[in-house]
């Protein structure tokens, strides 16, 4: 299969706000269960090991007409919770057996309680992660949180989740993480070959498909890309930061590239890229997952940074690693974590003479002109004067 047909499939998945593919997966075998989760991170391995499908829920995108969702949120709250509520109320998520609300911000945290009130029959859990990275403090707490989750899921599944099963799942997710890293590396090396929208759509498919299927898809794409030739444009190289929760509309991602920027790294949907290294498949799986989280998880605004000097280090590293020429801070409107973090990151970039700009969006932003103008001027300035 060529990239085109792979991407076409991804696009269909992306646009389908009824999640047919997940419904089909569930219907294919009796007793199958699906657990939804929101940004930014949950240990999918445990869900997978329970024989369930972890499904990433990233709001309703730009095409969902939100009618009831607005009834639950004031205008100064970001959009992802309202479109998620809309999905729930309109029955588009009626196949879910459980829903996880990770620790990321007050909005999603409170949504966990709303879900409990609105959908009392569905298992809903606020999933906490430690902001203390000592093995015997935060680590112990986190392991117990995961054990609780494991017990809950076992109840939901109707059977125990064995250590072996989780270790097996970790192995599969390790392969998956490697492929995602490969995709990002390829795009960074030859961005004209992997347009932003393609990389993005591929990743989005991974939020819905079973991991095994997505592994094949990624392999297929990576193989196909090698065979194709795409023209290289005179674009500058940038990193997108701040879009780890509510997603920008596809048009925005497209607009940035159109305006002259190759995106060489991003933090869209960190979920798949949260644990940055292989997780050990030996010993106590829960402990391994905890270790990986404490010591090798990606930095983002949703995490506490223990030391002043470490704030923004990950972004600097990425700029270096990907030879980026600038950083675009693109955060959802009213996104507290991203917007509070931004001044610190911007400061850090300025200190290192890395050009940066920032703007806000919503998942349903319609007007791309200001975005193009800002990204375009940014690209102009890098191109004309460097």
């Amino acid at each position: 299969m060529g990239t085109e047909s792979i991407i076409a499939r991804c696009e269909t998945l992306f646009e389908d706000i009824d999640f047919q593919v997940v419904r089909e997966w569930k219907a294919a075998q009796q007793g199958r269960k699906v657990v939804g989760f929101m940004p930014v991170y949950v240990p999918e391995e445990i869900i997978h090991a329970a024989g369930m499908l972890p499904m990433g829920i990233l709001g309703g995108g730009s095409d969902l007409e939100v009618i009831h969702g607005d009834a639950f949120y004031q205008s100064y709250i970001c959009r992802i919770p309202r479109s998620t509520v809309e999905l729930g109320i309109t029955g588009r998520l009626d196949f879910l057996d459980g829903m996880l609300f990770p620790s990321i911000c007050d909005v999603i945290r409170n949504l966990s309680g709303m879900w409990k009130l609105m959908q009392p029959k569905v298992y809903a859990r606020y999933f906490d992660v430690p902001q203390n990275y000592q093995d015997d403090v935060g680590g112990v707490y986190y392991q117990e949180e995961m054990q609780e989750l494991r017990r809950d899921l076992a109840k939901l599944a109707g059977h125990e989740i064995s250590d072996e099963a989780i270790l097996g799942s970790i192995g599969i997710y390790n392969r998956h993480r490697q492929l995602v890293r490969d995709l990002y590396a390829l795009r960074s090396a030859e961005p004209w070959k992997v347009p932003s929208t393609e990389a993005y759509l591929l990743m989005r498919a991974g939020m819905l498909l079973p991991v095994e299927e997505h592994i094949e898809m990624l392999k297929g794409y990576l193989a196909a890309v090698e065979l194709e030739d795409k023209p290289r444009r005179d674009n500058c190289r940038v990193i997108i930061n701040g879009s780890f929760c509510e997603q920008p509309p596809l048009n925005l991602i497209k607009s940035i590239e159109m305006a002259g920027c190759y995106v060489v790294d991003d933090d869209y949907m960190l979920v798949n890229r949260w644990l940055m290294e292989e997780v050990s498949t030996e010993g106590d799986p829960i402990r391994n997952l905890a270790d990986a989280f404490l010591h090798h998880s990606a930095d983002s605004a949703a995490k506490y940074c223990t030391k002043k000097e470490e704030v923004g280090q990950y972004l600097l590293d990425s700029v270096k690693k990907n030879s980026a020429e600038g950083v675009i801070f693109a955060a959802p409107s009213f996104c507290d974590p991203a917007l509070l973090e931004r001044p610190m990151l911007a400061d850090r970039m300025t200190q290192h003479n890395i050009p940066h700009i920032s703007f806000k969006y919503a998942e349903n932003s319609g007007q791309m002109q200001p975005i193009r103008e800002q990204a375009g001027t940014f690209a102009d300035s890098i191109k004309l004067w460097s």
């Binding site: 305006a259 193009r372 800002q374 375009g376 001027t377």
Partner: protein
Amino acid sequence: MTISVGIDIGTGAVKTALFRSSGGNYEWLARCNDKIRQRDPLELARKGLDQVLEESGIGEEEVDYIATTGEGENVTFSTGHFYSMTTHGRGAIYLDPEARAVLDMGALHGRAIKIDGLGKVLTYRMTSQCASGSGQFLENISRYLGIPQNEIGDLSKQADNPENVSSICAVLAETDVINMVSRGITAPNILRGIHDSMAGRLAKLLRVIKAGDGVVFLSGGLALDEGLVDSLNAAMKIQKLKLVARNHPDSPYSGAIGAAIWGAFRHEKLNAMAEAS
């Protein structure tokens, strides 16, 4: 010698400028400024081009580079497109070599751009999706008050007790203004109030880009509104910005000028690169 044309397609008008340049000397040969008034901007762009060609007596085949800016990405006959902050920065330097920041005050957005002595854009900031305090808003109010736009500035300068315009929303502010009129507040005081509130926002943009000190060049449609210029200077003083706001009779052309100059620059650079290889 390079002949280049810059076309700036804005929300309210299409501006066109034709330049002849050689070795860093730029000569402005022809210009055209056409209000859009519900016409197709792309057609007006073509019209503008034709008009500057006619005015300068230069044939289209002699033009080396046609650069669009503003909303001109879709113009089919252009050689290249520069984004508007790039061009306003350069245009500003052409019109006022002392400028180190540009404030582009358009119908819907305000933009603050920090530049160096060569017109290079250092940083910039735009107003957001909400239209409070936009030029459009001022336009609506003046229409409501029955005051032609070119008189706003003078009237505003006559204010003795500017009225605070509080609401954030442009539409709700409109109602504020209605109430002011019914409370007997004079037009100058209302206009000045609006100018002050706009200026406050614009000055804030300048603060955000850390414009430093020196001259802020005003470009865009509102640049010639002296009342706003006054308010802006006052607001900058309040916000402790050591800047002086300055405009130029040709301020509205900054984008087109910048586009033409960058077009010429790019043309020469591309030529040099072609020769080198």
